[in-house]
Symmetry: C2
Subunit: 337 residues, 2 copies
Amino acid sequence: MATIRDVARAAEVSVATVSAVVNDSAYVSPALRARVLDAVRELGFAPSQVARNLRRGRSDLVAIVVADLANPFYGRVVCAAEAAVAGWGYSLVVCNSDENPDAEKRILARLRMLHCEGLILVPVSNALPAAARETEGRRTPMVLFGRAFDDNRLDAVTIDNFAAAQQATNYLIDLGHSRIGAINGPLHVSTGRARMEGMQAALAAKGLALDSRFVRPGEFREDVAYSAARSLLGQPDRPTALYVANGLMALGVMRAISDLGLRCPEDLSVASTDNIPGVRGLKPVLTRTEHPIVDMVNEAVRLLVDRIKNARDEEGRTVVFPSSLVVGDSCAPWKAG
Amino acid sequence: MATIRDVARAAEVSVATVSAVVNDSAYVSPALRARVLDAVRELGFAPSQVARNLRRGRSDLVAIVVADLANPFYGRVVCAAEAAVAGWGYSLVVCNSDENPDAEKRILARLRMLHCEGLILVPVSNALPAAARETEGRRTPMVLFGRAFDDNRLDAVTIDNFAAAQQATNYLIDLGHSRIGAINGPLHVSTGRARMEGMQAALAAKGLALDSRFVRPGEFREDVAYSAARSLLGQPDRPTALYVANGLMALGVMRAISDLGLRCPEDLSVASTDNIPGVRGLKPVLTRTEHPIVDMVNEAVRLLVDRIKNARDEEGRTVVFPSSLVVGDSCAPWKAG
DNA sequence: TGCCGTCAGCTAATCGTTTCGCCAGCCACA
DNA sequence: TGTGGCTGGCGAAACGATTAGCTGACGGCA
């Protein structure tokens, strides 16, 4: 690979001049400029980002660490993030912590060495790994995405999970259901907990209680939701409606319903939160709350870039996006019997 | 951020000693070693990858450029690639060309500057952009994934698209169908073309012809497939069975079928190729050919790493994975009427 | 005691850029 | 013509690591 020195020699100018031409960072006379550009073309010179980054102290790299890349939801997030950071001239490094705190810790350590300029993090749990916290002084700008925890120095972009669950639950209540069950997400994750609390709040507001027999804790995974739904719905005494904590789980639940020979919505109404590509293909069309993923990611990247450019140490900003209920035909009014 | 010099000063040793301790690259007496490690901990020192890479001439970065990150199929590919390259100590840079040749060209130029050590490419079309081809001398190792074109210097990992389409089509033929239609992928892409050719070959082998009225060209997109299916199936004279070129398109086709009030498989049998997460949730369960994505990605990364480590200039290797037919209940025997 | 081999640890060159500070030449003004 | 400001272009010092090559102390052997 040709270096800037090779170009300088070929064009019979100094390396400083080559640099000036390549970066348009200073006026260079047309004659020299032409010589330099010829040499660049001749040698196929492309400046080494590595050297450039070392010198400039930047890397033009932004990283995103998601909690579960196998979940199509995060596939969409990564897709949107790639487009958003590319628009600002960054490349995107993608990492997957796979809901594993140790893996998350290792990844953050590795990224620190990579000198990424910014980091979008979908945290595995309620706190940063100790290693990341104890980093004093200048730390890399970071935005929490989707899941948040209270660290008032960090920016965060989330949806109103509490309200989303409330919306979906209210919809079921308004249809006349009172025996409402839930396939929950993990309660140690902010989204999982908030969605369960939102559901409980909605029930409580109408004087209904959440029957613990109708609730299954879970993980944000299709297979786990499938088993949970089978065990919950397999018993003779079962709810008439179900709130499912996310889209991936909803796929599992719908599969379980079909495998059990139940009909949706005749035997059971189902509502869920969050939209993933596969949910659109479900029959019946799922009633769910949706999030503006692309807008959310754009906002996260905006916040991140702002922090990278203006490295001020102001308080963390939290942007909460509203969710909207999309009515499908997976819910029916409650009928006695 | 503390540098190796800060650590050396704090531990009262030379930078060479610090480097030796940090990298375990030479014997250092226990006493000094302890002093160094203390200083490292004290200062929170992490060696700068950027400087290290400049010196070593490596970047520990592998890039993947996919043609459509919004397609969950590539979401799975990226997920598997992330895991695979992480196992080799690399970080993964993800780029999305969005089926756009210009974007692909820009991305490849940017990656060249990033000094990625290797590249997994799902090409947009049948050839490398000129810019990438004309790069003489040492080029970055590259493996084509999924889609290939004949450049006998490049490694490639693909499935046997021809056979996959043949398999699915034969299945439909064996059920007694003769009026078989197709929602195709783009024909300028190797996978799209090979699948159509496989289908035609299967029909021809049984003495059947592909009725051009029953064929819709397309793009690998859900919405495009939806429209194509609506227009194809909306006419009174329609096929009794349909081969759909990929999973994302199958989602669109199934949605169209349902919106048209048709029943699958009673009114129409559907078979497709490739597996994406959302397809599992479809009802009826889709009959399709599946690919071992994870194995394929692992193989691609293995080939890539091999080329990175042993930069020999031998011929490109092509690994073709077989696909397997997974029978669901989206196909029924043909009944006159 | 003197010589030599061994080896822990240090000094300094190097990777490929950017960029600060300097120099020389030119023009303008007095 | 002398002086001073302006500016195109250059030389060389960073950036932060790795590593080749050197130094000096120490122990063993004659």
